[in-house]
Symmetry: C3
């Protein structure tokens, strides 16, 4: 399959899944349906939006393609309808989310390189695209971002983006580097979940200040 087409398909799956995780997070905080739609939308498009604001690239993807907002809104409402099955579907979600993470990371790095940024900024924009949506979701829901506390989430994005960028730098064609990065990112995240790999935690006990 054409790697660009593959990325587009996976991107659409990715925003759909991200919207669904946003809907569930809003439900945990007993938000109303509007809140559900807002949190779902921010989760789905937050990463790309932050990236494009930081590099000053307009129009934003969802502004240029507002039909994507319809897709994520419907996904969020479906999630509300099937929430009772959410726990049974948990593994499916985690797998799709892992695929989305790898996809967003690649798309983000590409978009930064498209406008002339070097490897350092491309890698950062890839990771921001991968994880910032989830971080904004958690801030809207008033909880410590899970990305900083769960099994290798941002780490997967970081390793995947460098794998992709190094292949790109070495002249590996997209037709090869994109599938390899997707498979690697997906497998890495799934293994981290299975074996509970975590990044070492930094615990610091300050004096009381509030």
């Amino acid at each position: 399959m054409d790697p660009a087409l593959l990325l587009i398909i996976l991107f659409n799956i990715g925003i759909t899944v991200e919207a669904m995780t946003g809907a569930l997070a809003a439900g945990e905080r007993r938000m109303d349906l509007i809140g559900v739609l807002v949190v779902a939308t921010v989760t789905a498009f937050g990463g790309g939006t932050v990236r494009d604001l930081l590099i000053g690239r307009y129009p934003l993807i969802w502004v240029a393609n507002p039909e994507l907002l319809l897709l994520t809104s419907i996904a969020a409402l479906i999630m509300v309808a099937i929430a009772r099955f959410a726990r049974q579907l948990e593994k499916t979600f985690l797998a799709l989310d892992a695929l989305g993470l790898a996809t967003f990371t690649i798309v983000g790095a590409q978009r930064a390189m498209d406008v002339g940024h070097g490897l350092a900024i491309a890698s950062i924009m890839g990771v921001i695209t991968g994880v910032a949506g989830g971080i904004l979701r958690d801030m809207l829901c008033n909880r410590i971002p899970l990305a900083f506390r769960s099994e290798l989430y941002a780490t997967v994005s970081i390793v995947a983006v460098w794998l992709f960028l190094i292949m790109d730098y070495l002249g590996v064609s997209d037709a090869l580097s994109i599938p390899i990065t997707l498979v690697f990112g997906f497998a890495f995240r799934m293994l981290a979940l299975k074996f509970h790999w975590v990044v070492p935690t930094f615990v610091y006990q300050a004096r009381q200040h509030d």
Copy 2:
């Protein structure tokens, strides 16, 4: 009255009232006067600022008109001075806030259309302008945004913006569509408050993860 002039007057009332609600929220969190001014300013201008960042429209309104910041700062300080009467004034505030919500919504949609966006993006920018200031206020004050949990707040903005856009699309002149939208939005919000209309809430109990 000229509808453009009416909007300007209502816009100034709107940012004044928003600044006052921001000041009260800061007071609930025992912030100092600087915090009060920051939260008031973010509440008053946050919606328009988020909108203009998302569509890349510069300069921002308050950057082009910094005297507006003086207006909202004074409003916030007055609120601090008269806080003891805040509860008696609650109904007045809610009425002015309802008017501000409708005003911001119209202004936001207009500003997106000004730079060539279609109905979908104009409606979203209208709603963002209407509600994002309050959401940022609640995030700064570390609480779940009330916009997602109270009586038809964002919903009023959504219905009002589509009423306005459909009239605009059908060729209704601003002199008619703006007052109609304002009256409708105001009445809708006041009725929602009076009869405690709410959007259905989505409650989801996840497994313990923290």
Copy 3:
């Protein structure tokens, strides 16, 4: 010493110290090392990033100079390594942070004036540059921003920026106005800490709404 060079040196010290305070805040919330790096980076560059987004000035400083991200990441990791000594170093940190606050304030005001903004916006951009990084840090760590509750933090930035801008307006050369502002800002903040000067707090008890 050339005042521009002095500012650059102090700017680098400032982002280093800010990154370290971000690392400690992440440690208080038991984040993993990725979270530590993210919070450190946001703390160090958040103020300048918010400023440049608000005035639409691209590229952002750290996008143009990604090696700065290496500096702050290393600073954050060093902080993790020496966290056990953090309390003994507390006074050193507070002093360096005070210097950073004054530095960021001047740099922010200059950058706004560079693109043609007047005194009002330059002063606001100076203060945003000085304090927004810490506010974002506290939002990521899910706590009420300390900038609104501790000893004269934002106030120092506000007074310092006006001191600097008035000297600039009166034609005082940078070689004089920059060192004066730095010394003043530093001394003001240190005195505020020593004598526990605070801005009056606004306490408002709302009715129960959640």
